[in-house]
């Protein structure tokens, strides 16, 4: 674990991501309009909405892959114009490079960062160990399960110590039990990184479990952002405040 504490130390403060009245989408095909959103440093913001409502568009804009059509997007107050290693993106599936072993996949962002070979190896192995893949390190993505691939993606995203992690339905293709395990793992590995997390999902329960706040998307705009009572407590699912919020979220998504 000594090396993974190295990993955590440089990124104890997360980044602040802010959208000021932004219109998002591809040129000629706007998906979201007038988005005002402030993601506080170190918080976990979950984003829910039915499919096609622009969740992925929002995430890609925050990643810097898609410039906003209008309005402004800033990181810690400075304009955000291009992708950067400070904001890691975790995809739904198949984003690992299939010709690289899991270890080599986790080493890749470290290589991009310019770390020497030996250090890459040590860090990547430590991260694979943290996500429970130490003994699969030399396998290729096709040789492991979908859940294992997502864990490897998590390790790949966290290894270089990003200050924000943007997750695009990372557990969306997993079955319910694997998904619950992955949520616990995510909470565990995020602990101490201090990184800001924006987590997109279509699963309301997942959003309420993981998020400090939950943002609701629908009908081409950001409907609301709500504080989640007692986040990341499995026992809190029958908390009356949580039940009320869950009902509100479901109603607004249904409309």
């Amino acid at each position: 674990m000594s090396s993974s504490s190295d990993v955590r130390s440089p990124s104890l403060t997360g980044t602040r991501l802010t959208l000021h009245g932004a219109a998002l989408g591809r040129p000629g095909a706007p998906v979201l309009d007038e988005v005002h959103l402030d993601v506080a440093p170190g918080e976990i913001l979950t984003v829910v909405g039915s499919s096609g409502c622009g969740k992925s568009t929002l995430l890609r804009t925050l990643a810097g892959l898609l410039p906003p059509l209008s309005g402004e997007i800033t990181q810690n107050g400075r304009p955000l114009t291009a992708p950067s290693a400070e904001r890691a993106l975790v995809f739904q599936e198949d984003a690992l490079l299939p010709w690289r072993t899991l270890l080599a996949n986790v080493e890749l962002p470290l290589a991009v960062k310019g770390l020497p070979r030996a250090e890459r190896r040590i860090r990547a192995e430590a991260w694979l160990e943290r996500v429970g893949l130490a003994e699969h390190a030399r396998r290729r993505p096709h040789g492991v399960s979908g859940g294992q691939r997502q864990r490897a993606q998590l390790a790949r995203a966290l290894a270089p110590g990003p200050r924000a992690i943007l997750m695009d339905e990372p557990f969306g293709a997993l079955d319910a039990q694997t998904r619950a395990g992955m949520q616990d793992l995510l909470v565990e590995v995020l602990h101490g990184t201090g990184a800001t997390v924006v987590f997109v999902t279509h699963d309301v329960d997942e959003a309420l479990f993981l998020g400090d706040r939950v943002a609701l998307l629908g009908a081409g705009r950001l409907i609301a952002v709500r504080d989640v009572p007692r986040p990341r407590e499995r026992a809190a699912h029958d908390d009356p405040a949580r039940i009320a919020l869950r009902r509100e979220v479901l109603t607004s998504l249904g409309s």
Partner: protein, 294 residues
Amino acid sequence: MSRPAPRLARYALRGAALAAALGLWQLLTGLDIDLWLRFSQFPTVTDIAHAFADRLTGADYWTDLTDSLTRILSGFLLAAVLGVAGGVLVARSRLAEDLLGPLLEVVRPIPAIALVPVAILLFPSNEQGIVFITFTAAFFPVLVSTRHAVRALTPVWEEALLTMGGGRWRILGSVVLPGSLPGIFGGLSVGIGVSWICVISAEMISGQYGVGYRTWQDYTIVNYPGVFVGMVTIGVLGWLTSTAVELLGRRLTRWLPRTSYVPGARVPRRTHGAPSRTETGPGPKEEVSREQFV
């Protein structure tokens, strides 16, 4: 994974098929059969075998062989490098597509062998002309399949590299080239085949030494067994070089899901791998049934 017994049986079957074809040939030519198709003028298998044995002991045969191989390897390697580079360039850059696209599309339909006059005009020696023709033959299949492969790359791979802070060259080296290797090798396999056709034809037209030149020489001096020795040589060389390309391709694209190149394996994958693929991580209750994600 490999089961030796059926594998051996398959090789035996292939050998037997080849032997049967040769036997039929010997029969038809040995009996001088003339049933519309005229086999009476044809050399028999044993004639050819004798001629072959004579050739193998002479020096000319090996000179021809090394000449042809040198020509094809230089032309083909040049085509591989420039074809991949051109394909990537055209697929990734709009400017390159606009500048090179029309030119390439116009030159592409011209059969490489029709470029013999061009080669003669352009190059000071026949040797370079033949290499040029061989190059042109392989260049287009490689370029076109590289272009397709690069355009078909999964976009998230590139996005992943971008969000790691990777630049253009990093994306080229870590995503574009390795990701398009399966397609590139498709083009190389076609390319090496067309290269042989063109190197032999070019040698027949303008060569000095070389398997194609020798084959044509034998024809003009009515040495039919010699012609067939030439053909067998071309066949074997072509087969060896394309097998080499194929094997290299398989080695470099081993990461592809396995089933795509084990045509004989009929064992369903799920019964095969299921027991060894249970999760062993820290999370509680994580048994993953893999089939859903494949």
